[in-house]
Symmetry: C2
Subunit: 312 residues, 2 copies
């Protein structure tokens, strides 16, 4: 079973959820009503051999585990609140490594504004099992109450991506995916700056192709990208920018009339217009497509599918 | 490294946590301030070969994964709100099993009042890896705002346990640990009934010995248990009742003057007074002890330690 099929299966039960679930499964985070307000929540895991190579420093494993969850908070324009970690450790992990891991998780969680408030640790029965960290993150909505979803792109919206994409894993597996800065500040300033003119947003975790296709399908629109506008990380190909994933930049849409107010750089991060959303109909099918070498290509199959046959 | 040492390591950073963390790591759940209220949060995992035997029906694996988290909610007298699941699946798990697991998680989460609102699924790179579910649960405090902690036992409190203990795993691994009813309603009625006369509470997950010792140490008191008063599950020994764990009954304390108001049964569950808390000092050391066969025995080393050398 592929991850996309599993997501569809989970979302099929969304109409049974109680009213207090304000954003159901399917976005970067769920939103749940609490007292007079609400809380955003999501979880994401990192597994040795899949999300990081075995010789990755403990310090950077901990950082990645937290940072990719903080990136989900950025995608909703939220404010990190707290996190929890369920860890499964190889039985032969030295005590010094367990101590270093715990300290690194605590420090990075603090630095990202979401102190570690709970967790659970298990040890594998036999040595050599992969180290695994599952992080749950809690966040508050932006101070205005606005939560930016992935299903709010509309006909005419311009499509924007932050930073540059591609090659995050690195030749040795020790690349940018271990050190990226989640775009929490950028997302907050986008809401401050554009308010309701900000449409949909997602973080680029599984590749721009796959993630923009998710925005398109959730919103029921066509997303049309001009390949030569995509900002490509130095030393990478356009193909890598579309497929690699784990960039943890933001892709978002702005209402057409807001496009001219877009600064070239916001919160220190370059912003690039790469395409437009169009209403689905006779002319355009729902989904994301990119214009490359004189032809349109479906973007949904580009990128990282977390199925049993997918590699890291 | 043993789990107890790890807990101490984590708790050592508690004084660095911001004010919004109202209950820090160390209790069954953490409590975090949100808008005008607060949310309780915890996570707990089940791993094949450790928390359930390999031939356990998928349906019961899902139930246990959710129910043990709901039991943490009961321990705080909270109201289940929502849950998330990070799953790691063997790459050769049939699609039908993935579907059955998803449906079972959704159904049990709904039944326990904490709808599944998010998650993450990874597949192990190779077949044969253990199936693993890490559940995070969110809860609201009791309607009065009272959150029952484990560190509020005081000199003179009576110690009470619900239900009967021991043998939860069963000879074939398919016992009560897969079917227990988390004591959410009992906990709520205890707060309704006793209010501030309810002292400390914990759910019995790692064995009565170890869990009462946690209450004693968190509260800084001695907990003195009369062995022959402990309610033992039919077919089990007193030793099993003290050590086995995974009963998911509640152990709690009541102020001395409230003891005479204790009903024999509340919310359908029998309640048994098994001992008393005493101030620590020259006479009594901090910690839990049980009187058995004419002598006092330390309870802290009885029960299930989740260290690398512990078996399931």
């Amino acid at each position: 079973m592929r991850e996309g099929d599993l997501h569809a299966l989970i979302a099929a039960a969304n109409d049974r959820l109680p009213k207090g679930v304000m954003i159901p499964p399917g976005d970067d985070m769920a939103q749940v009503a609490v007292a007079g307000g609400s809380v955003l929540v999501a979880c994401d895991q990192v597994i040795e051999g899949r999300h990081f190579v075995p010789n990755t420093p403990i310090e950077l494993i901990a950082r990645k585990a937290i940072a990719r969850n903080v990136s989900d908070v950025a995608a909703m324009a939220g404010r990190p609140l707290a996190c929890l970690c369920a860890a499964t450790l190889p039985s032969d992990l030295p005590e010094s490594a367990v101590r270093a891991l715990t300290a690194a998780l605590q420090r990075h969680a603090e630095d990202f504004g979401c102190p570690l408030v709970g967790g659970d640790t298990s040890w594998h029965g036999e040595p050599g099992h992969p180290l695994q960290l599952s992080i749950t993150i809690l966040a508050l909505p932006h101070a205005t109450g606005r939560v930016v979803r992935r299903d709010q792109a509309r006909d005419g919206d311009v499509i924007i991506v932050s930073g540059a994409l591609g090659g995050s894993f690195g030749a040795d597996g020790l690349g940018h995916h271990l050190r990226f800065e989640p775009r929490v500040r950028l997302a907050r300033e986008l809401v401050d700056h554009f308010g309701d003119r900000l449409g949909a947003m997602i973080d680029v975790s599984d590749g721009l192709g796959r993630d923009l296709d998710r925005v398109a399908r959730a919103s029921g629109v066509a997303v049309l990208v001009e390949g030569d506008r995509i900002p490509v990380q130095g030393g990478c190909t356009l193909e890598q920018a579309l497929r690699d994933g784990e960039d943890h930049e933001l892709a978002f849409t702005l209402r057409a009339e807001a496009a001219e107010d877009l600064p070239a750089i916001l919160a220190g991060v370059p912003l690039t217009i790469i395409g437009r959303a169009r209403a689905a109909g006779d002319l355009h099918q729902v989904g994301a497509r990119v214009f490359l070498a004189g032809a349109w290509h479906a973007m949904g199959s580009m990128g990282w599918e977390h199925g049993p046959s997918a590699g890291a």
